[in-house]
Subunit: 506 residues, 2 copies
């Protein structure tokens, strides 16, 4: 009875959104580089790896790469790679792969023209219109996950919306994974900082999917973002995460964070060379660890502000670099990851236009994973509840943009055009009535009232409306079913691992 009442309540929700749907981009990508320019950039990256190399801080990884054929200098910790070795190894990575979700209807395909939108991962703070910007709590993070679950346009949870600061840092990831699995039935990214956190993600995913590591290796479900330490360095926690992921057949999404003018040269071409060199070094490492490991070519190339040296995101340079990165990834035969970004400090017009510049670069660059696609604010320092809604609206619009125009006799509508008197209107035609409710994108957030009604209803701007929408979604939230035995097993795992961590720390 209670359940039925909740269903009824849901069906009258004021929040209108698109249904869950896998997306692919039917249009040709925008190409900002010629084929020769792509080759020049990749050749530059290979030359860098052959002559200078990349610094691998973790000693075991240097030993391993030496045995695999790399030229290793232990004094400088540089690992030099022959171009033929890089090409041979990277060719072993698949062009496309799938990621399993707890709900099999939400399994993800990554590669070719498919496109996956993930929610923001990693910010230190959270914010909303009423409480402002603040360190977030675990309860608030659980709410954030409920919204990620509720918003159909978000295909994947992005590895933790923000840090739950009321929990101890050494075991926080365990509570985070538990909340991911409990409150969403979507694929969730790992919090891939260090080997143990990554291993815990893999183990808890096995419990959630009621599978084991051997089966998971055949049917991967864990993707971790692997950031290089640009320029040209690969640090120990990330090395450990790659080892855990690759050995388990899970997915390192290799993503240099290059800001042209600080972490990379002050040119887009040079930044793309360096980004490609860093991806290729780690990609080679993954394929030496386990040939055929699914990986992604990740790009997060932008530039610094010329006046202040501050990061600038969602810039024209960012858009061009995203489109170019897609071309490079396709040239290398790797699935491509891009992002939606902004440096705006509040959810306003700048937040929208910088995110749009990012999204267009990602989508028309044929990104297979658009990371941080919903909720990112303030250069990634903050996860915003209102930005989550704003981004979901912008993503829904792009999803609709990717539905091709139907052209057939019925859609060409010559009869309907002939039927309506010149100067008349199409409101009442049979042609219109037959498709009126489904013909066009039904907005979730946009206000299409006229000015008088807008003013009379309180002149609520987009951010204010977004606030009301996420509160409504939380009120309407229904937890996806989870086998109680699985829930119990997850909780047991968390308790046991916390005890081990505490013992290890004590």
């Amino acid at each position: 009875m209670a359940r039925r009442r909740r269903r009824e309540k849901r069906s009258v929700s004021a929040v209108q959104q698109l249904p869950w749907r896998s997306l692919s981009n039917p249009y040709a990508p925008i190409e900002v580089l010629s084929a020769q320019q792509v080759v020049d950039i990749v050749d530059g990256a290979l030359a860098i790896l052959a002559t200078q190399g990349m610094r691998f801080l973790e000693e075991g990884s240097r030993r391993f790469m030496q045995q695999a054929g790399a030229d290793v200098d232990d004094d400088t910790m540089m690992v030099r790679l022959d171009p033929s070795m890089v090409r041979e190894k990277v060719a072993m990575a698949p062009e496309t792969f799938t990621l399993a979700a707890r709900n099999p209807e939400k399994n993800l395909s990554l590669g070719h023209n498919s496109i996956v939108f993930s929610s923001v991962g990693g910010p230190a703070f959270c914010s909303d219109l009423k409480k402002g910007r603040r360190p977030g709590t675990y309860a608030e993070l659980c709410d954030f996950f409920k919204l990620v679950q509720s918003l159909n346009i978000i295909h994947q949870e992005g590895g933790g919306g923000f840090e739950p600061m009321d929990l101890p840092p050494e075991t926080r990831h365990l509570d985070l994974y538990l909340a991911q699995i409990r409150y969403t039935d979507k694929n969730c990214q790992a919090y891939a900082l260090g080997g143990q956190r990554t291993a815990d993600a893999i183990d808890m995913t096995c419990i959630a999917l009621q599978t084991d590591r051997a089966a998971l290796a055949q049917d991967p479900a864990v993707l971790g973002i692997i950031n290089t330490n640009s320029p040209m360095q690969f640090d120990i926690p990330m090395t450990e995460a790659v080892v855990e992921l690759a050995n388990a057949g899970q997915v390192p999404c290799i993503t240099p964070f290059t800001l042209a003018g600080s972490m990379s040269p002050a040119t887009i071409a040079g930044t793309l060379v360096q980004q490609t060199a860093e991806v290729l070094a780690v990609a080679t490492f993954t394929q030496c660890l386990r040939p055929g490991t699914p990986i992604m070519y990740g790009a997060f190339a932008s530039n610094v502000d010329m006046k202040s040296g501050a990061p600038a995101l969602g810039t024209p340079e960012y858009t061009k670099a995203a489109l170019a990165s897609g071309q490079i990834a396709r040239h290398l035969g790797l699935p491509f990851r891009s992002s939606s970004t902004t440096v705006a400090n509040c959810v306003d017009a700048q937040a929208a236009y910088e995110s749009e510049m990012s999204i267009w670069g990602a989508i028309m660059g044929h990104a297979n994973l658009v990371n941080h696609a919903a909720g990112w604010l303030e250069g990634g320092l903050t996860a915003s509840f209102e930005k989550l809604i704003l981004d979901a609206e912008m993503l829904q619009m792009m999803a609709e943009f990717m539905r091709p125009i139907d052209v057939n006799d019925d859609e060409l509508a010559l009869d309907a055009i002939a039927e309506v008197q010149p100067g008349g209107h199409h409101f009442g035609t049979a042609h219109t009535l037959a498709r009126y409710e489904t013909a066009f994108y039904p907005t979730m957030l946009s206000d299409r009232q006229n000015f008088e009604n807008f003013r009379e209803s309180g002149s609520r701007d987009t951010t204010t409306r977004a606030h009301a929408i996420w509160q409504q979604l939380l009120a309407d939230y229904e937890q996806p079913p989870l086998d109680p035995a699985v829930d119990e097993a997850l909780l047991d795992f968390v308790v046991r691992r916390k005890a081990e961590r505490t013992t290890a720390a004590g």
Copy 2:
């Protein structure tokens, strides 16, 4: 001395913007239709014109078209056109043309890959953050024109930012033209409602350019927006404007306003058929009037909101229709006009994302004219001073996006990458220092401060900053030089024509 002081003041302006520059799109357009689908749509339009025709309300135009070979039914006022006649006539229109500006450095090229951004034209109201939304005055319109002049990214004034409601409607256009010419040296659109207003624009342009109608016909300078009365009707004021423009060798920019589900069928394909039929009917008329008259294929296709029937702009359907319209225009060999639009009632995130969806459709559809590209708000009912600045920022970002990535040895920066230690930074390299100040887009409006500085400096959102920018630009404004004899001749013309209008009315 006073002049010198003004120059000095200008050089320290806090408003940083890109220099005036002609733009062209170096990237291939996004194609959302196959070649066959384009043909199907154009064939559908030709079939409509052959079987049903378009209603021409003005009797003289019907007589004229009958003599030119059309099948005219005076009872229904329908003008039917044979497909071969349409194709033959439309082929006479040039694929590209130029528009002269008062400052020859600001002459415009329209066609092929060139792209022109115009300011908003036609709203009934104006608005700004301090005074709100209101009927505007002539003094405020003059300020708006000063901003259009000041913003380098705006290539063309769009035919009057908003109605100066303190002036009598019958002679208002004369004061408007005078202000256009005095306060800007850019090309200005005509207020093309009716024959006399259009003729006045042509005559005043002749005075401003110190030329005559014969020379102007060889070197056009007046573009007028010609809206059909969708569906399938061509009204008397617009017919008169076309006759004036075409006979003078000036440019009718033929633009149906089709909202799928009200003024056109509730499908994108059907809307494109009707839009194309309407453009082709008027295009044929222009080429019968004067073969070789430069014209544009204008698109303003969007959809109604499904729930309310209200106009919806900057929607995914709008973007797809813009891209498809570009394909149709290129198929027909006509320069293409699109727009930047939004139905937002205030300058917020929705205003930004709907405009972005429009701009991306226009630019990647290879629009040659992006009409209403700056200042449009509230479905075109209001010209906003802050939106003008917001749009200018978004347009500048797109202009930078259209600068191709340089790829050469210096830009690939292999030496700079080798020079910097892994984990170090590129701030101080010779490579960075050599290009630091010019390497990246210098934002006019975006705030890239960190959150603490943002908060300390008053948490000013994008719209608040836009307000400060337009006020600064007004303070810095310098009127472009105008020969006093020309100014006097313009004023004489205005006084004489006002007297004639008053006499005619009296």
